[in-house]
Every structure is written in structure tokens, then in C-alpha cells.
């Protein structure tokens, strides 16, 4: 891959960044919008993290001490909603904004004004969600999965606000996804054929497809909750011929693809970082593309593995069990390919690589506990225990979130033109790595022993482990402040200037433009050979 057009001619209305607040409010620039998304996601990460601290403080000891159970439920609910819709998803969208146009040689996203709109509706949505916590009756307390009848018959009056804020989050995601898809279909530079696209672009393409397919289903689910609660329908009420289990089917038809929405872009990131620091080409590029595609397609037919204990017919249980296990095959292909890429490479361990390596190991642990949960009779015991909590935190925190951090460390020098503070970064990595395992690993044990999730109190036998879990939690929370400090320094443009290439061995169009990346890149598309 090579390109000549790296010098940027500014002969038209394109100049540098405008200044002042209007720059951010009115922007149509994919880099500005990417920055907005990333900062928003980080702030939400801290807010959602603060709620997790409340949860862990309450669970530090058995008994009820700090918050009342209703507030505890609100904390678990809003923590989950914020982390999923406010932190992980916007962070990936921010990365897509920054990177996809640069990686495919496009001047910007395909629909720049809509891009601005899809970002700026997000703060409103979360303002509504957070505001509901302070209203009469409190915020949503039914878990991020808002199962009926918890969210209908037994929810508090502010549920309508939850419903409409989820609608806005959905609209934002759909618009963002349309933008990504159209950009990739229509804006690739000449010569950037499908099978030359960087994997981050591929994985985001497929993620965007998943988003457009399932976010509307979530909108349907919250709408039915709204009408059931406020307008007397009985979708989820057996007395009217509906069924609360139907809620779970609709929700998880969205929910399972949703978890892949939160991990596929991570696969793309890791597939970019591992080759760079192994100084080898990615092993099995084509198989990565096919694995991603088959994971995405399979993700539509496994949803009921979240519902094994609802009394489905045994045929359905078996079908969903085997379909779920099938997903481990393409997932395994990916892990194998990453390991094969490193095999006999001349590896170095810069900060992005550290996070990527931690990702591979820890995400695999999460995948393995998922496999255990996929076994029907086993899940009968594990369901709704801390074992599930351990599973999804391994795939989401040490999976999705670690990949996002890896990505930030990998591309930050390209964005700011300066190397970040490596000492701080290493502190951030090691503190996070150790504390995250103290936090989540013992959850496997208490889960296997039967500690239920989403309950503010627990039996005395779990006390020791929970103390350690909480300590790990506080340490992980504090470690993120190191990241905050590092990011503030980076945004103030402190640090050593870096070259265009930044990391030796990094490949792709984004490394051929200067660092920091100019405000407008690829006004004229490069030619990719």
C-alpha cells in the first residue's frame, strides 16, 4: 500500500480548525466529532464507574449498610445502561469517526451533518436518564435488561423517561451506523478493494449492520413497555394473552447482537495492533473477515441462551445451546490468528501492545466462561449468579474496554502529534491489569458457590471474597484517574513530537499522513496499490 498525496492542498474553503465553542457545536469534521464521542464516552465511563463504586461499597460487607435496596437497584441498572450505551458504544463510534475515513482514504464521513446530529443527541439522552434518578420515585431500578413485569407492573413512575431516553440513544446509534456503512461502501479510495480494507474497517462495517438491524427492535421493546405500563396494553401480561417471557425474547433478540456490537470493533483494533508490534503481517486476514461475518450472522440465532431457565421446550434449549457453542468456533479462529501472528515475530511491548496482549488472554477467559454458561444444565445453576457477572465483565471490561484503551494509546500520537506520557501509561496498564483481576476473578468463585447477582446483601460465607472484590473495584476505579491525567496532558499537547509513522511497523493509510493528522485529510483520494 502506498500513496503519494500526503501533502494537503488547501486551495478552497477548507482551512484549519475553527476556534471557540462553535467549532464543537456546529462541526461537520469527522475528527472533531470523533474527539467529542471519545470524551463523552470517557466522562460516561467515569460516571458509570462512580455508580459501580457505590455498588461495591454496599457489597463490601454483608448486611445493608450504605444505601437502601431501591437505590442499590437504581445503581446497578443505570451503571449497566451507562456503560453499554454511554461508554462502550460511543467510544467505538468515536474511534470509527476518527479512523474509518483515514483508513480508507476518504475526505470525511459520508454524511457529515448527520454525523454531528448523531453525536449531539447523546448528551441529551443521558441527561434525561440521569435526571430521572433525582425525580420523585427515583430512576429505573429494573436492571439494564428491564425485564417485564419489573419494568411494567412494578416500576416507578419515571419509567417513561427511561423509555424516551433509550429511544434517543437508539436513534443516535442508527444514524451513526448508517454513516459508517455508507462511508465504507461509497467513499473508499480508488484501489481500496474489499479485501484490502483494514480489519477495523471490516469489523465496523459488520457492527454497523448489526446496529441497524437490532436497535429498532430495542425501540420496539421499550415502546411495548411504555404502552404496557401507561396505556393498558398487555404484551407482557398473561391476563391479556401476552407473555412476560415474550419480553425476554424481544429484548435478547436485540441483546445478544448488541454484545457483539460491543466486541467486533475490538477484534478490529487488536488485529491492527498485534501485527504492528510483532512486525509481521496479520496471520489469516481472509479468515478473520469470514470469522467476523459468521459471528455476526450466528449472533441472530443464539439469543435464548439468556433464557434457559424460563421453561422453554427442550428442543429450543438444545437448539440455542448448540448454536451458541458454534459461535466459539469463529471466535477461536480469531484468537488463533492473533497468536499465530505473534509466533516468531520480533515482538516489542509498547503500551498499546500490553493492552492488546491482556485483551487476548482475558477476553479468552471470558469466552471460556461463556462456553460454560452455554451448557443448558450447567446454566440452570449459574444463571443469575455472580458467575454471569464475571463472564460478561471479562468480555466487556478486559475485552471491549481494554481494546478501546489499546486503541487510544495506539492512535493518540497520530491524533495529537505528541507521544503520550509513557510512564503514566505503564502505571495505568499495570494498575488496571492487576486490579481488574482482583475485581472480577473471585466473582467466578462466589458465583459458582451460588451468590445471586443484583442483590444488595449476601450470605456470610461470601464475605471474604466480596471484600477482595470491592478492594479490587476501588483500585480499578482509581487507576482510571491515571488515564484521565494522561489524557489531559495529551490534549494539552505535552510530550515528544512523533513522526508520521509513529510506531515502526505500523501499516495503513493513517500512518502515511503527518502527525498530528491535519484537520482535513484526503481531500483528493490517494491511490491504493
Amino acid at each position: 500500500m502506498s500513496t503519494a498525496t500526503t501533502e494537503l492542498d488547501h486551495d478552497d474553503h477548507h482551512h484549519g480548525a475553527p476556534s471557540g465553542i462553535k467549532r464543537w457545536l456546529y462541526t461537520t469534521n469527522h475528527k472533531d466529532i470523533g474527539t467529542l464521542y471519545l470524551w463523552f464516552a470517557f466522562i460516561m465511563f467515569l460516571v458509570g464507574g462512580a455508580m459501580a463504586m457505590v455498588i461495591r461499597a454496599e457489597l463490601f460487607q454483608p448486611g445493608l449498610q450504605i444505601v437502601d435496596p431501591n437505590f442499590f437497584n437504581q445503581m446497578t441498572t443505570v451503571h449497566g445502561l451507562i456503560m453499554v450505551f454511554g461508554a462502550v458504544m460511543p467510544a467505538f463510534t468515536g474511534l470509527a469517526n476518527w479512523l474509518v475515513p483515514m483508513m480508507i482514504g476518504a475526505p470525511d464521513m459520508a454524511l457529515p451533518r448527520m454525523n454531528n446530529w448523531s453525536f449531539w443527541i447523546l448528551p441529551g439522552a443521558f441527561t434525561i436518564l440521569l435526571a430521572s434518578l433525582f425525580m420523585e420515585g427515583g430512576g429505573p431500578a429494573f436492571g439494564w435488561t428491564f425485564y417485564a413485569p419489573l419494568s411494567t407492573t412494578y416500576s416507578n413512575d419515571t419509567t417513561a423517561l427511561f423509555v424516551f431516553s433509550v429511544h434517543i440513544m437508539g436513534i443516535s446509534s442508527i444514524m451513526g451506523a448508517i454513516n459508517v456503512i455508507v462511508t465504507i461502501f461509497n467513499m473508499r479510495a480508488p484501489g481500496m478493494t474489499w479485501m484490502k480494507m483494514p480489519l477495523f474497517v471490516w469489523t465496523w462495517l459488520i457492527t454497523a449492520f448489526l446496529l441497524i438491524a437490532v436497535m429498532p427492535v430495542l425501540a420496539g421493546a421499550v415502546t411495548m413497555v411504555l404502552t404496557d405500563k401507561y396505556f393498558g396494553t398487555s404484551f407482557f401480561d398473561a391476563a391479556g394473552g401476552g407473555d412476560p417471557v415474550m419480553f425476554q425474547h424481544i429484548f435478547w433478540f436485540f441483546g445478544h447482537p448488541e454484545v457483539y456490537i460491543m466486541i467486533l470493533p475490538a477484534f478490529g483494533i487488536i488485529s491492527a495492533i498485534i501485527p504492528t508490534f510483532s512486525r509481521k503481517k496479520l496471520f489469516g486476514y481472509a479468515s478473520m473477515v469470514y470469522a467476523t461475518t459468521s459471528i455476526a450472522l450466528l449472533s441472530f440465532i443464539v439469543w435464548a441462551h439468556h433464557m434457559f431457565t424460563t421453561g422453554m421446550p427442550v428442543e429450543a434449549e438444545l437448539f440455542f445451546m448448540f448454536a451458541t457453542m458454534l459461535i466459539s468456533v469463529p471466535t477461536g479462529v480469531k484468537v488463533f490468528n492473533w497468536v499465530a501472528t505473534m509466533w516468531r515475530g520480533s515482538m516489542t511491548f509498547e503500551v498499546p501492545m500490553l493492552f492488546a496482549l491482556a485483551f487476548i488472554v482475558l477476553f479468552t477467559i471470558g469466552g471460556l466462561s461463556g462456553l460454560m454458561l452455554a451448557i443448558v444444565p450447567v446454566d440452570f445453576q449459574y444463571h443469575d449468579t455472580y458467575f454471569v457477572v464475571a463472564h460478561f465483565h471479562y468480555v466487556l471490561v478486559t475485552g471491549a474496554i481494554f481494546s478501546i484503551m489499546a486503541a487510544v494509546y495506539y492512535w493518540l500520537p497520530k491524533w495529537t502529534g505528541k507521544m503520550f506520557d509513557v510512564t503514566l501509561a505503564k502505571w495505568h496498564f499495570w494498575c488496571s491489569l492487576i486490579s481488574v483481576n482482583v475485581l472480577f476473578f473471585p466473582m467466578h468463585f462466589v458465583g459458582l458457590a451460588g451468590m445471586p447477582r443484583r442483590i444488595p446483601d449476601y450470605a456470610l460465607q461470601f464475605a471474604d471474597f466480596n471484600k477482595w472484590i470491592s478492594l479490587g473495584g476501588f483500585a480499578f476505579g482509581l487507576s482510571q484517574l491515571i488515564f484521565l491525567a494522561l489524557l489531559i496532558k495529551a490534549c494539552r499537547k505535552q510530550g515528544e513530537p512523533v513522526s508520521a509513522q509513529v510506531w515502526d511497523g505500523a501499516e495503513g493509510l493513517e500512518w502515511e499522513i503527518p502527525s498530528p493528522a491535519p484537520y482535513h485529510t484526503f481531500d483528493t483520494p490517494p491511490v491504493v496499490k
Binding site: 503519494a4 475553527p18 462553535k22 467549532r23 457545536l25 462541526t27 461537520t28 475526505p107 470525511d108 459520508a110 457529515p112 451533518r113 448527520m114 454531528n116 446530529w117 449531539w120 443527541i121 439522552a125 441527561t127 434525561i128 419515571t158 417513561a160 423517561l161 424516551f164 429511544h167 436513534i171 442508527i174 448508517i178 455508507v182 461509497n186 467513499m187 480508488p190 441497524i212 438491524a213 436497535m215 429498532p216 427492535v217 425501540a219 420496539g220 421493546a221 411504555l226 401507561y230 396505556f231 396494553t233 398487555s234 404484551f235 398473561a238 391476563a239 391479556g240 394473552g241 401476552g242 407473555d243 417471557v245 415474550m246 425474547h249 424481544i250 421446550p313 483528493t524 483520494p525 491511490v527
Partner: protein, 298 residues
């Protein structure tokens, strides 16, 4: 190097718009709508007082301002020839994916309909391994579709597919054809035909909506079929209701297109807005056919 120069010659510049105030206005609008609607629903159904309705109205007003401003901006750009063929493709693909997302929205409600009919209701009557459910909870309940008597005892009557719904189906299907004819006329640059066909399409759309209102009044007043009459009424009103909202939006889009046609906009090879509007119209027609089949006939 040579190739780059080559590319530069072949390349029609992609129009990346300058800063625009409209999206942020739209964001404020959506915030007000969501916040207003949330409070409004609570206030109405829980008999509380508050400002929900006002905030909601302010939201819609802001949205209207945004739509007018944004579209005016867009039309000016298009008319002054800033757009390339590539940008046209972006818009078309964007619209196509948007329609796909709408399809999935309806799919959720169709899914609820199928699940209730095929699984939930038979189970309530003890089908499969649910014998005890039937025997213990509601021993008198009998599975049927349409569900005219719920386990809880709410009675209703079924909406027949003959008569008004059948006429409405014919109306919408004809309107799909007239919409297509308008598009053909536009591509052949036959402006009078374009106006006539488009005008007919709009009238058919309005007539359809009128008939829907008549049907709803009939259902509520004479048939005892309401939003509260169990899963049959729920799926009936939510599916036809959301469809009706989409027809309303589609009709408004067609009216705007009609006004633009009168002003002389659109050419045989530059008419994205028209194409998008007609796609949207065909989409609501297809949804209706599905509705007619699964909600009314079956």
C-alpha cells in the same frame, strides 16, 4: 505519482459541508421531545400536573424550525450544483439503510404478534408442557385467534378484512402505482404528468388516512375493540397505528415534494429527494400489505 494525477482528474470533489447550526438545533429538539414526552405520558396517565405537554410542543416546534432550515440549506446546495454523483449515492444508500431500520422496527411488532398467536396463547391453554398453567391459572380459558376473550376476561370483537380494510388495501396499492408513474414521468421530464400522478398519490394517501380514522372510531364505538382489549387489540392498534404514523409522514413528504415540483425543482437525473420520498412510500405500502395479510386476514 502518475496515478495520483490521473485520479485527481477523474475525481469529482466530494462535498464536505462547512459547519452547520442545524444539527445542534435538531439535538435540542430531540431532547425537548424526549423529555417532554416522558413527562407528558406520566402526567397524563398518573393525573399529575406539570409542563410535559409544553416541553413536548416546544420540541416539535424546534424540530420544525430545524427541518425547514436544514432542508432549505440542502436544497440550495443541491440547486447550486455542489453535489456530485458520489454524494447522490451516499444519500441513496443512507435512505435505503434507514428504511431497513424501519423494517426492523415493524419486525419487532410482527414478532410479538406471531409469538402471541403461535406460542403464548396456546401455552396459556395448556399446550406443550404447560398443562398446569392452563389448569391452575385460568381453567376456563380457551386458546383462539383473534383472541376475543382474554384469560383475564376482557371481551372484544374481531375486525373483518372485508369492507373498509380491503378498500384501504386497494387504495394504497394503487397509490404505489401512481407514485411510480410520477417517478417515470419525472425521469422522462414530463412535468404535467408528474404533477398529476403525484397529486393523485397524495390524495389517495389522505383518503387512506381518513378511512383509518373511520375504522378506529368504528372499532372503539361499535365493536368494543380498543387498545386495552388484550393482545389482539394491542397488536392491532400498535401495528396499524405505527403504520398510520408512517403514512402520515410519507404523505407530508409527498406534499413537500409536490410543492418543490411546482417550484420547478428536480431534473431527470438529479432528484434524490424525490426518489427517497417514493421509496418511503413504497415501503409503507409493503408494510400495509403485510399488515393486511397477517393482522386482518389470517
Amino acid at each position: 505519482m502518475a496515478q495520483t494525477e490521473q485520479a485527481e482528474q477523474d475525481y469529482e470533489k466530494y462535498y464536505v459541508p462547512d459547519q452547520s447550526p442545524w444539527p445542534i438545533v435538531g439535538a435540542v429538539a430531540l431532547f425537548l421531545i424526549a423529555f417532554g414526552a416522558g413527562n407528558f405520558v406520566v402526567e397524563q396517565t398518573k393525573a399529575q400536573s406539570g409542563y410535559g405537554g409544553w416541553i413536548l410542543t416546544a420540541g416539535f416546534a424546534t424540530l420544525l424550525v430545524m427541518l425547514i432550515g436544514w432542508f432549505k440549506n440542502q436544497i440550495d446546495e443541491s440547486m447550486s450544483g455542489l453535489y456530485s454523483a458520489q454524494l447522490g449515492r451516499s444519500y441513496r444508500q443512507g435512505m435505503a439503510w434507514f428504511i431497513f431500520s424501519e423494517v426492523m422496527f415493524f419486525a419487532a411488532f410482527f414478532g410479538a404478534l406471531f409469538y402471541a398467536r403461535v406460542i403464548a396463547i396456546p401455552w396459556l391453554d395448556g399446550a406443550g408442557n404447560n398443562e398446569m398453567t392452563g389448569a391452575v391459572l385460568w381453567p376456563d380459558f380457551e386458546a383462539m385467534w383473534p383472541l376475543l376473550s382474554t384469560p383475564g376476561g376482557v371481551q372484544t370483537t374481531a375486525m373483518p378484512w372485508t369492507g373498509l380494510p380491503l378498500y384501504n388495501t386497494i387504495i394504497l396499492m394503487v397509490s404505489s402505482v401512481t407514485c411510480h408513474m410520477a417517478h417515470v414521468a419525472l425521469e422522462k421530464n414530463e412535468r404535467t404528468k408528474l404533477k398529476v400522478w403525484l397529486g393523485i398519490t397524495i390524495l389517495l394517501g389522505c383518503f387512506f388516512l381518513y378511512m383509518q380514522v373511520v375504522e378506529y372510531i368504528h372499532a372503539y364505538n361499535d365493536m368494543g375493540l380498543t387498545l386495552q382489549s388484550g393482545i389482539y387489540g394491542n397488536t392491532f392498534f400498535l401495528l396499524t397505528g405505527f403504520h398510520g404514523m408512517h403514512v402520515t409522514l410519507g404523505t407530508i413528504i409527498l406534499i413537500v415534494l409536490f410543492l418543490r415540483v411546482l417550484k420547478g425543482h428536480f431534473t431527470p437525473d438529479n432528484h434524490f429527494a424525490f426518489q427517497a420520498g417514493s421509496w418511503y412510500w413504497h415501503f409503507v405500502d409493503v408494510v400495509w400489505v403485510m399488515l393486511f395479510f397477517f393482522v386482518y386476514i389470517l
